[in-house]
Symmetry: C2
Subunit: 339 residues, 2 copies
């Protein structure tokens, strides 16, 4: 990659300033000159250096994307959304995968700052327990616009696009109630994660508003894993006063339930109704119709990226923006009440 703007200038018999002008369509350039320059560019197979340009312009047109688990399609879809909008606006994406490790997340933040990215889109590690003071300090003092996606950073206030977990859970449980269910269990996520708490809150709210007493025996504390959900579901199935429906706080946990169901020949929804939070595409493809609350993943990515672009274009604005998306309830039949 030796060929530079000066080589082109030489080859075309003009100055580098002129080459720059044709490259950027800026200023006046005689058509004839432009042709010569373009010809030289073709012949020498010249590609301008974004690095040099960035340094000179103090603008990288790059944003950083930080996700906890790249191999989870949930984040894949968010990135897809981001990428689409970024493409349209000619932004590059630097990707950092953190494996749910807050140390790596911190490292990613620093690294991105070095890269002089213009903004950061981050899905913070879901557990909000252990923010070190260093982490908090770093993210607060980044000096770069940050937009959170579907996850809050405790003690802090950032721009972000979030899912209304309370509403999602409420809608799901309300649907079950409307169907005729009165004994409704919940399997929660890890309670140190905000979404898990909010989903539980939505569950309780729905029961309360419909005058159904909240029974502690029907609240099962899971941890987002399918293994745990499997165990819990087996227990539920053995209860004397067994619920007729389960609201499951995450897609992975739905899988654990299904396993337990099939081992015990439980038919959905005849023997047990179920609604899950977040989609499991595969289940629907194979014709196993599980109702779920659909977090708009691709959409979130798009909106977050747009929000960031907005912020970048209005750098004077200092107020923090927040969008709460309503997840959509997708009914497939698994919520039915069969007497």
């Amino acid at each position: 990659m030796a060929v530079t703007i000066d080589d082109i200038a030489k080859a075309a018999g003009v100055s580098s300033a002129t080459v720059s002008r044709v490259l950027n369509n800026s200023g006046y350039v005689k058509d004839e000159t432009r042709e010569k320059v373009l010809k030289a560019i073709k012949e020498l197979n010249y590609t301008p250096s974004a690095i040099a340009r960035s340094l000179s312009k103090k603008k990288t047109n790059t944003i950083g994307v930080v996700v906890p688990e790249i191999n989870n399609p949930f984040f894949g879809e968010i990135i897809k959304g981001i990428s689409e909008v970024a493409d349209e606006h000619n932004f590059n994406l630097i990707l950092c995968n953190t494996d749910e490790d807050i140390k790596k997340e911190l490292r990613a933040l620093k690294l991105l700052k070095e890269q002089r990215i213009e903004g950061i889109l981050i899905t913070p590690t879901s557990t909000d327990s252990d923010y070190s003071s260093e982490y908090l300090w770093t993210i607060e003092n980044l000096g770069i616009p940050v937009v959170l996606i579907d996850g809050h950073v405790k003690y802090s206030n950032f721009n972000g696009v979030f899912v209304d977990h309370i509403k999602g859970a409420y809608d799901a449980v309300k649907t079950l109630i409307d169907e005729g269910h009165e004994k409704i269990a919940i399997i929660t996520g890890r309670m140190n994660s905000r979404p898990a708490r909010e989903r539980l809150a939505g569950y309780k709210k729905a029961l309360k508003l419909h005058n159904i007493p909240i029974k502690e025996e029907y609240i099962f504390y899971g941890d987002y894993t399918h293994e745990k959900a499997y165990e819990i579901t087996k227990k539920i199935l053995e209860m004397k006063d067994r619920p007729t429906a389960i609201f499951v706080s995450s897609n992975m946990m739905v899988l654990g339930c299904i396993k337990a169901f099939s081992e015990n020949n439980i038919e959905i929804p005849k023997d047990m109704a179920i609604i899950g939070f977040d989609k499991v595409e595969v289940l629907n493809i194979i014709g196993m119709n599980i109702s779920f609350i659909n977090g708009p993943t691709i959409e979130m990515g798009k909106i977050a990226m747009k929000m960031l672009i907005d912020i970048l274009n209005n750098s004077q604005a200092t107020d923090t923006k927040t969008i709460n998306l309503s997840p959509q309830l997708v009914l497939k039949g698994s919520e039915k009440y069969v007497r």
Copy 2:
């Protein structure tokens, strides 16, 4: 982001060269001086500019990753592997999603070249039909090391890590034969994709080597979609001389088969045996035990990244390297022959 190395130099009462030295741990610096510099860095919250450094060093420590479908966990896992190794070696990742669109792929390539990345890891769009001459020309004349992952670029010879699709398919079909199956159908992928052709080849090879005649009626041409597989499977189930086993060329298509099975109350493997290519995690989690050939995705990502680093460190070597990974057969019981 106003603070530069000169600000630090000024604040610490030294020259920028000295600051650079402590930043890079290069050359000699008196401890005392180092302290002063570090103090200034802390106080001014200075973060060096990777952009400026890259320009100066002619080295970006960044590699480009190009995938066709970021929201597919298959690619997510590849990226995870890449990211792990990249982290260890302090490489940044610029990600480009192409939506299986060869135009976007071409654009990504150009864009990455502008960014002066050191190398490219690419999973080419699976269809090898329409490489424009521009595409071929561009990728051949990139002047940047390219490592292909699980996909070839027609008419060209690149470094790459691939899956041995022939072997994978062979192993699967051989297993079915060993189980006692003699009537084995295949649902292929899109035949303009090399993996699809190779998997079919593996299927035929296994039959031939075991003296089972290849019957055209048992070869069904799919297109990687679950919808098509669903249609095909329904047809298979209606055949008078029905196969006892199906080898399915992709994970998505397995889902279509399962849907058809369950609609027709076909039990696996009692009424029909099945082995698929590539994992569908979810199926195993819910206890639906489908045997499959496991392409080592994370591993491929890791190996590809390592290979790239290798190439970067031996820039004189001009021979192209290729690694063919054997996929692993994971048996869950769906391959059994039940009389």
